[in-house]
């Protein structure tokens, strides 16, 4: 019934539905679409980089443009692709895994996604409005203050807006997981995906404020005449590096922990065996999250912090290898003695183990600080973090895309094309990045727009570029796969992989908008598996069928985000032509309209916040009869 009416809906009403939705499943789709778009954009930027570096003295990109491309590649991939895509899977799975009808704060969930989308759009508008940021994704203060034009302002304001969205989402997930678990879902029965989401969300709550502060200081220096980073006026640029990396290192774990979560689910499912050492895995996850805050200065070994700081941070960094090693061995022990089915998600998960181990061990090599004086800011580092981020996070995203696609869309991606994508991507990845370790050791610095002939870098760079093309082809095959799957629209039923263990696979597909007709009773780890083995394969209800409460849709999150988006333009053009402004912008034409735009934008946001605060929105009740009708229909369809 619900389905037929959805098909009758016009395009306009579907768009309106998505603009106003507070349903975590639809928000997941928004994250997936926007994150996927930015992933392709970041990928195109990566290809431009590799084309430029394919041969020495290349002039495919100019020096200045190259710096813009590398900055946007890094910023886009981390903030606008990897994190939102992880949020897509968190949103799609976590409420279903813990047996909740939605997240704790559905309105905030919507606000989070729209802040991210508007922030991302703002950042990328820089390409059309005078040039993108060009100081690297780390945007070190001396260079970012000196960078002429508005590029860095796009970076600062865009990340500030999307960062606020991330922080909000982090708070939301922490609250959801702590307060909304179904009866019987104790902490030590939560699936690893939920556990890693919880720890990553806690990391977001603690790690994003330093970034926010750092960017605020940068914004005020560039737009409102302060001098936090202006050394000649008594400022200090090293503060930026600390603030950035106090955020930046936990950020790596914010990305990798949910990736670990996705893989843990996939290993257990396709080995038909429960996760080995569950408690050790949980403990290791928490420990990695905790250590993540103790090691930021290993990004700064060459800054001159002195031997005491370098020694402490070197040893602390090495310590992280222990819980990470525990995880790797637990995964191997999980598939050991199992029955491995080589589905596309499982191929990514299996490839992840050796690939990520290689990225992990080069990380430990860098923890040896004196050796890092050599590796630092060379291509060795580029190779290392791509091994971790691509071999870990991107593999997880691609695995998760195939694994959770039926849960999100009630169809299956084509397995054959999926495997073609996997093999192309896997070989392309190693071809691109393995050789870069050696480039770094041979003395090639990173972030160089070109290199001279005769330094022995030519062949290796060409190999690297060839690998990048393989990855690009892999992504094209994936896009074709997605389009074909959507066009065919062949629906699948409950538990499409056949070996679902966790609660989300016990639901009918497509998942009803209220998720659970009755909140289930959880009787153990992997509750659906428990019912398959010990019960009749159906979850037991923990409540009788009654009316239940759901939140109303709202357009206010879009309005609030739009307000900040408008305000950002005002803030950005405010210092143009002012005498107190930094050299980078003081020479530009004055923009008298900047202040009114700033005020109008902020005003829009505040009015929307006011409406949300003073106008009661009590939600609505889903009637028992409606749910009963859905259940009957399901029964008929199933038999």
């Amino acid at each position: 019934m619900a389905q037929t009416s959805a098909q009758k809906k016009g395009v306009g009403s579907v768009i309106w539905e998505y603009l106003t939705t507070v349903d975590h499943k639809k928000i997941a789709i928004l994250y997936l679409i926007a994150g996927g778009f930015f992933f392709v954009l970041g990928g195109i930027e990566a290809m431009l980089i590799r084309i430029q570096l394919a041969v020495p003295n290349n002039d495919f990109l100019s020096a200045g443009l190259f710096n813009e491309v590398i900055t946007m590649h890094g910023t886009t991939m981390i903030f606008l692709a990897a994190m939102p895509l992880l949020f897509a899977f968190m949103n799609a799975t976590v409420p279903l895994q813990i047996g909740a009808r939605d997240v704790a704060f559905p309105f905030l969930n919507s606000l989070g996604v729209w802040l991210f989308i508007f922030g991302g759009i703002f950042l990328n508008l820089s390409w059309f409005m005078g040039g993108a940021p060009d100081a690297g994704w780390t945007s070190y203060a001396s260079l970012s203050i000196a960078s002429p034009g508005h590029g860095i302002d796009f970076y600062a304001l865009g990340l500030q807006i999307s960062g606020a969205g991330t922080l909000i989402s982090g708070i939301n997930f922490v609250t959801t997981i702590i307060t909304m678990r179904a009866p019987g879902m104790t902490y030590m029965r939560m699936p690893l995906m939920t556990w890693t989401t919880l720890v990553a969300s806690v990391l977001i709550v603690f790690a994003f404020p330093p970034l926010t502060i750092g960017i605020f200081l940068l914004m005020f220096d560039r737009m409102f005449g302060s001098n936090f980073f202006l050394v000649e006026a008594g400022g200090n640029t090293i503060i930026w590096e600390h603030l950035f990396w106090i955020f930046g290192h936990p950020e790596v774990y914010i990305l990798i922990l949910p990736a670990f979560g996705i893989f843990s689910e996939i290993f257990a499912t396709f080995a038909r065996k429960r996760l080995f050492g569950y408690s050790a895995m949980v403990f290791a996850t928490v420990l990695i999250g905790f250590y993540g805050f103790m090691v930021w200065a290993h990004h700064m070994f060459t800054v001159g912090l002195g031997p005491v700081a370098n020694a402490i941070f070197a040893v602390a960094t090495m310590a992280i290898a222990v819980p990470t090693g525990i995880k790797i061995f637990n995964w191997i022990a999980t598939i050991w003695g199992g029955s491995i089915e080589f589905t596309t998600p499982m191929l990514y998960a299996l490839a992840f183990i050796p690939s990520f181990t290689m990225g992990g061990v080069t990380g430990i090599m860098q923890a040896a600080a004196p050796a890092d004086y050599q590796y630092h800011d060379s291509y060795f580092i580029v190779a290392h973090f791509h091994y971790v981020i691509v071999g870990g996070v991107v593999f997880a995203l691609l695995a998760g895309l195939h694994y959770y696609w039926p849960l999100m869309f009630a169809t299956m991606l084509n397995e054959k094309l999926g495997k073609i994508t996997f093999w192309l991507f896997f070989f392309g990845f190693h071809l691109t990045f393995l050789i870069q370790h050696f480039l770094g050791l041979w003395g090639m610095p990173r972030r160089v727009f070109t290199y001279l002939d005769g330094q022995g870098y030519n062949a290796a760079n060409m190999i690297s570029t060839a690998g990048a093309f393989l990855m690009a082809v892999a992504v094209i095959v994936l896009v074709v796969n997605i389009i074909m799957t959507i066009a065919k629209n062949e629906r699948v039923g409950m538990d499409p992989w056949g070996d679902g263990r966790t609660l989300e696979w016990s639901l009918p597909l497509p998942v009803p908008y209220y998720n659970f007709a009755q909140i289930p009773l959880i009787r153990g780890l992997d509750p659906y598996w428990v019912e398959k083995k010990e019960g009749n394969g159906k979850m037991l209800p923990s409540e009788s069928l009654t009316d239940f409460h759901m939140p109303n849709n709202s357009i206010l999150p879009v309005v609030m985000s739009l307000g900040l988006f408008i305000a950002a333009f005002g803030a950005m053009f405010f210092p143009d032509g002012k005498d107190w402004a930094i050299d980078a912008v003081s020479g530009l034409d004055p923009k008298p309209w900047a202040l009114p735009v700033l005020i109008i934008g902020l005003g829009t946001t505040f009015v929307a916040m006011g409406i949300r605060s003073w106008k009661d929105d009590l939600g609505y009740y889903v009637k028992k009869e409606e749910v009963e009708k859905d259940l009957e229909e399901l029964e008929r369809g199933g038999k």
């Binding site: 100019s62 020096a63 200045g64 190259f66 100081a135 690297g136 070190y140 260079l143 200090n236 640029t237 090293i238 080995a271 038909r272 429960r274 080995f276 060459t302 800054v303 001159g304 002195g306 031997p307 370098n310 040893v315 090693g325 191997i332 022990a333 598939i335 050991w336 003695g337 029955s339 491995i340 080589f342 299996l350 183990i353 050796p354 181990t357 290689m358 080069t362 090599m365 923890a367 040896a368 004196p370 050796a371 004086y373 050599q374 630092h376 800011d377 093999w423 070989f427 190693h430 393995l434 050789i435 050696f438 050791l441 041979w442 003395g443 972030r447 727009f449 001279l452 022995g456 062949a459």
Partner: protein
């Protein structure tokens, strides 16, 4: 499926072999061919860590391969029901304890070398002055060039760094505009040139290694510093102690700018005095100038840090610096016709320091402040103060 995995492994192995066959890079710029003690220690640490890490990778790969090959569903059969194992205490203790032991093996030399290589105390005397007994060089990094000042001798040069072999060379690093990073890969790791304060470290260049590379090493900027970051290279000439002293003495001997000899060069000198002198010095003094010091310009290895040193490139560089080094600070600061550029370059190509012209005794005297050895007015005291903080 098995075939795929075997194939993957073979291709991986062949790639690794290829890489080893292609060698360890060029000996004047590869970290794998260390040219002195600092680089050697770092190289040894790398090798130790690589051995430990290859062991880890090997163990993981073997276990992983066994796990995958043995437990395929096609082999196990569709109906096989794996036994759920919650955990195994012994195994978990092993894979927690073994990594800890491996890390301790790596941590001990790491901490030792961190402290050893950070010891620059010998570069200053007890009064906080530059120690004249040691080789101390002040490095200032600019977008996109390097200035090298020899404070004890009062000599300033740029782009081509000259160092003595077989002795510790102490560097005091400062960024003039934005942050850069000073890296001579063959000699050892890098250190940042912060704009907030001075960083100090030391490197050593072995005489033998220097001979092998024709006494020339490559230096690079390792921190993104703007559009021409990639072109911010410099050359390092490593000379035996006596040659190094002679070079310093020769530089000191240039008290007046070298006078042009040819007619063209004389005309060029006049143009230079009008258009270029404001930023470029032609005597080896005046650290912290706007542009590179050009005292020994004709003796240098490269134009603009990366082009072959010939008159054609020089003229091209003066004519259109923006194309050759985007974002540089020289663009648009002068207005010269092509003819004038030819004259100026003729003059610059005559800026050579005669070898052996300097007086070694005068050099010694300058190092020790004219014999009384107590106070030296010519050094900038602020550098020395900052240095303490930098440490």
């Amino acid at each position: 499926m098995k075939n795929h995995w075997m194939k993957a492994r073979w291709i991986g192995l062949i790639t690794v072999l290829m890489v080893f066959l292609s060698g360890c890079g060029k000996n004047h710029l590869s970290t794998l061919r260390p040219a002195g003690e600092v680089g050697q220690e770092q190289f040894n640490l790398m090798i130790l860590s690589i051995i430990i890490m290859l062991f880890v990778v090997a163990v993981v790969t073997i276990l992983f391969t066994l796990a995958v090959v043995r437990n395929r569903r096609s082999k196990r059969g569709e109906d096989f029901q794996p036994k759920d194992v919650a955990s195994n205490h012994t195994l978990e203790v092993i894979w927690t304890a073994v990594p800890i032991v491996l890390l301790i093996i790596l941590a001990v030399p790491t901490v030792y070398l961190v402290f050893k290589q950070a010891d620059t105390s010998a570069s200053v005397t007890e009064d906080g002055e530059v120690n004249p007994e040691e080789t101390v060089i002040n490095v200032r990094a600019y977008q996109y060039w390097w200035e090298f000042e020899y404070p004890a001798e009062g000599v300033v040069t740029s782009q081509d760094l000259v160092v003595p072999t077989d002795t510790r060379v102490y560097f005091n690093l400062l960024g003039a505009d934005v942050k850069h990073s000073f890296w001579i890969p063959a000699a050892g790791g890098k250190m940042d040139t912060n704009i907030d304060g001075i960083n100090s470290f030391y490197l050593i260049f072995d005489e033998d290694a220097a001979e092998e590379t024709d006494r020339l090493f490559y230096g690079k900027c390792a921190e993104l510093c703007g559009p021409s970051h990639a072109l911010m290279d410099f050359k390092v000439t490593a000379l035996a102690e006596e040659d190094y002293d002679q070079w310093l003495a020769d530089m000191q001997a240039i008290e007046e700018p070298v006078q042009a000899s040819s007619e063209d060069a004389q005309a060029g000198q006049e143009i230079f005095a009008d258009s270029c002198m404001g930023c470029h010095a032609t005597t080896s003094t005046g650290a912290g100038a706007m542009g590179p010091n050009l005292t020994n310009f004709a003796d240098r290895e490269l134009i603009a840090g990366y082009l072959e040193h010939n008159e054609e490139n020089l003229q091209e560089w003066i004519r259109d610096p923006e194309t050759l080094k985007p974002g540089n600070k020289m663009t648009g600061t002068y207005d010269l016709t092509d003819e004038e550029i030819e004259l100026v370059s003729a003059y610059l190509m005559e800026l050579s320091v005669e070898e052996g012209s300097g007086d070694l005794e005068a050099l010694e005297e300058s190092r020790h402040g004219g014999g009384d050895g107590e106070s030296e007015d010519e050094e900038s005291p602020e550098d020395d103060e900052d240095e303490e903080e930098g440490n």
